[in-house]
């Protein structure tokens, strides 16, 4: 067995830490900490991108790293923290499924992801192909977070962490997407967070809360219809 080079070991460490962070997010109920975890995830993504850029001498990865730094490590967490302060949402309520149960499901999800990523990893020629399974797992774990939470804010953190997982997947499978696409995706994510900010204020104005159980009136068959009545 050939010894694995040091930088590759570091990369694998980053990947493992990313997976660990996803589990931490799954278990974390304080929203401020959740956002910090998201920022940390961004930082790990940045470290992985830089390592990969240095290792493979792919210059566009440096630009991608700069983008990650600006957007995912600094701007988005800052925006989210501001929102949390302005809206005064600090804790999520009890998740739909209790935390030990969620973690168990998380473990199953990871096993499933590695199964799913198996054919892709087998075909990949990149040095980081073993990390593809982890990227899929991060995406699916974020998905579980989104399903399991009630507060709008936690769902958004789940959404952004899913985006991070996708980026990590793109990086470990193909050393990143073409620049124009990465720029576009980054722009979309930024706009999404801004739109959500506006949106949260609207929800709060209407319900005095960011708890999503208020948003359950529209069910089949349509029950109360305030929109139609107040005209």
């Amino acid at each position: 067995m050939t010894p694995v080079s040091f930088d590759l070991q570091l990369l694998n460490l980053c990947a493992a830490l990313l997976l660990l962070l996803s589990f931490a997010m799954l278990a974390q109920r304080r929203i401020v900490t959740l956002v910090n975890l998201l920022a940390l995830q961004g930082a790990l993504l940045l470290a992985a991108t830089l390592l990969l850029a240095w290792r493979t001498q792919q210059h566009h990865l440096y630009i991608s790293a700069a983008l990650t730094l600006a957007l995912k490590v600094i701007l988005l967490p800052w925006l989210l923290h501001r929102l949390i302060r302005r809206l005064q949402v600090y804790r999520d309520t009890e998740p739909l499924l209790n935390i030990p149960g969620t973690l168990l499901i998380g473990v199953l999800v990871v096993v499933f992801s590695f199964g799913l990523a198996q054919p892709i990893s087998a075909l990949a020629s990149t040095a980081t192909r073993s990390a593809i399974g982890i990227a899929v797992a991060v995406v699916l774990l974020s998905f579980v977070t989104m399903i399991n939470r009630r507060k709008a804010m936690s769902q958004v953190v789940g959404f952004l962490s899913m985006e991070n997982g996708l980026f990590f997947g793109a990086m470990s499978a193909t050393y990143g997407m073409p620049m124009i696409v990465e720029l576009g995706v980054g722009l979309d994510v930024l706009v999404a967070v801004l739109v959500l900010g506006v949106f949260f204020f609207q929800i709060r104005e209407q319900f005095d809360s960011l708890d999503l159980h208020h948003l359950e009136a529209l069910k089949e068959p349509s029950s109360t219809r305030p929109a139609a009545e107040d005209r």
Binding site: P119, L166, Y175, M177, G184, A192, L196
Partner: protein, 485 residues
């Protein structure tokens, strides 16, 4: 050049309307910008008809018969909807449901939404296609919540989260596509995501990865199409947003999303020896048709009713594309056109009717024919057209789809026929009292815009009686491009 105009005029419109604000003439400015877009689309079409497919801006944009007809359709419905929205939004302001500040947002986002759809249609880059689809969601989220009612906020949130998660799946699919393509086309430059390049080497792409990619792309863009069981956001977003937005969501955005799926299907089918993409499309399509037909019975809100009808028709289109072959593709393209025209006409009529009755509940809308015969006839004719009554164009396309299904997939024909029958009974039974019942409704402060309704219905009627030969050639060329022999 034409393309530049096409994309620049809605973008300029968005900026202009954001600056201009909600002054007296803003609705007219909105219509004027949409007209400019339409003219640019016509010029582009003329050029493609004369010179064949075009590759523009370092191959980032690609216009062929398939997308140019959707571009024209999008620009046309965008223009007529802006005409409709002129009196509609004025009435909404007088009813106090919309403030001037929100009207500014509405106009600006309307133009931005048109721009994102046109980019999605014309781009050659699968990554940009994704970016534009996501941008289309983002630009409409705030439009769905324009009224700021509890229900509209819920609808907007559902729309954002479901489509956001869906489109994230599509991003993963795009990454996988790039992963497969990069091996053959190389990662230098951006050629590995350009559809024309991918199409050239589709036979060499790795089948395992591509089939996985297609699953993700279908689920992702399928969420936007509203294919069951991913359709939950669609009725809410249609019912709670302003009616012009329902018209463009239903008539245009769903088409654009299905366009994205078909582009992916062409690539994946070329790589796979199995018919997995076809079977998946047919399965999702059939499920949507059946589920939507059943849900139609439970609706009480008129816009929700027609939103479910959109799901049904999207299912039918997906089924037809799934069957593939020249006739089915032709029928699917025709159905996209007539559905888009008819459904937006219906929403125009429904919008005026709901404003008149002061409610979207079907039980409150009565006797349109006595108080406002033109709105009443518009709604009646539109409903008949969408239900596939001859001689409207929907009949022609549904007939083609059904006869092809009888030949290619005989097992599916009874299911489709039953679903269409159920849908007919559900919609007709509800529209009839709305049009002919007793009424007490008052006059609207602004005369409704009925020209768009009857223009659309006239076109649909025309397409049912006679498809002009150049249009038929065009559809055939497009059908050939997407894999009809």
């Amino acid at each position: 050049m034409e393309l530049l105009f096409l994309l620049a005029s809605p973008l300029a419109g968005a900026v202009l309307l954001a600056v201009y604000g909600a002054r007296q003439r803003a609705p007219e400015l909105n219509a004027a910008m949409s007209l400019l877009t339409l003219l640019a689309a016509c010029a582009l079409t003329a050029r493609v008809v004369n010179e064949g497919p075009l590759l523009i801006a370092q191959e980032q944009f690609f216009i062929d018969p398939f997308n140019v007809f959707l571009v024209t359709l999008t620009a046309f419905v965008g223009f007529t909807t802006s005409l409709f929205s002129r009196p509609y939004m004025r009435v909404e302001i007088e009813h106090g449901r919309v403030t001037p500040a929100r009207l500014r947002l509405y106009h600006s986002m309307y133009q931005l939404f048109m721009a994102t759809m046109l980019v999605a249609l014309t781009t050659n880059n699968m990554g940009l296609l994704w970016v534009a689809m996501e941008a289309a969601t983002l630009s409409t989220v705030l439009l769905v919540t324009l009224y700021r009612t509890a229900a509209s906020l819920e609808a907007g949130w559902k729309y954002f989260i479901l489509c956001g998660v869906g489109i994230a799946q599509a991003l993963f699919g795009t990454i996988l596509l790039y992963f497969a393509a990069e091996k053959i086309l190389g990662s230098e430059g951006v050629s590995a995501l350009l559809w024309t390049h991918l199409n050239g080497v589709k036979g060499q792409l790795e089948p395992v990865v591509l089939s996985l990619a297609f699953v993700f792309l279908l689920v992702g863009y399928g969420t936007k199409v509203g294919l069951a069981p991913l359709h939950n956001w669609l009725p809410d977003a249609h019912a709670e947003g302003p009616t012009p937005i329902s018209a463009v969501l239903s008539g245009l955005l769903l088409n654009v999303a299905i366009y994205a799926i078909v582009r992916c299907k062409v690539l994946v089918e070329g790589s796979l020896s199995s018919d997995l993409p076809s079977r998946m499309l047919m399965g999702f399509g059939l499920l949507s048709v059946v589920l939507a037909a059943l849900f139609l019975w439970r609706q009480r809100d008129v816009k929700r009713l027609f939103a479910y009808s959109s799901i049904e028709h999207m299912g039918l289109i997906a089924f037809a594309f799934g069957m593939g072959g020249a006739v089915a593709n032709f029928a699917a393209l025709l159905h996209m056109t007539v559905h888009s025209l008819t459904k937006s006409a219906i929403f125009f009529a429904v919008g005026h009717a709901a404003q008149k009755a002061g409610s979207q509940l079907m039980a409150d809308i009565r006797g349109l024919i006595t108080r406002n015969p033109t709105v009443g006839w518009g709604l009646m004719m539109g409903s008949l057209a969408i239900l596939g009554v001859p001689p409207f164009g929907v009949f022609a396309s549904e007939f083609l789809i059904l006869t092809t299904a009888m030949r290619e997939q005989p097992w599916a024909t009874p299911i489709l026929l039953a679903a269409l029958g159920i849908a007919f009974a559900a919609i007709f039974g509800r529209v009839q009292p709305m049009v002919f019942g007793e009424t007490t409704a008052k006059r609207l402060p602004h005369p409704p815009a009925l020209l768009p309704v009857f223009t659309h219905l006239g076109l649909v009627l025309l397409l049912g009686l006679y498809v002009p030969p150049y249009l038929a050639d065009w559809y055939r060329a497009a059908a050939r491009l997407i894999g009809g022999e």
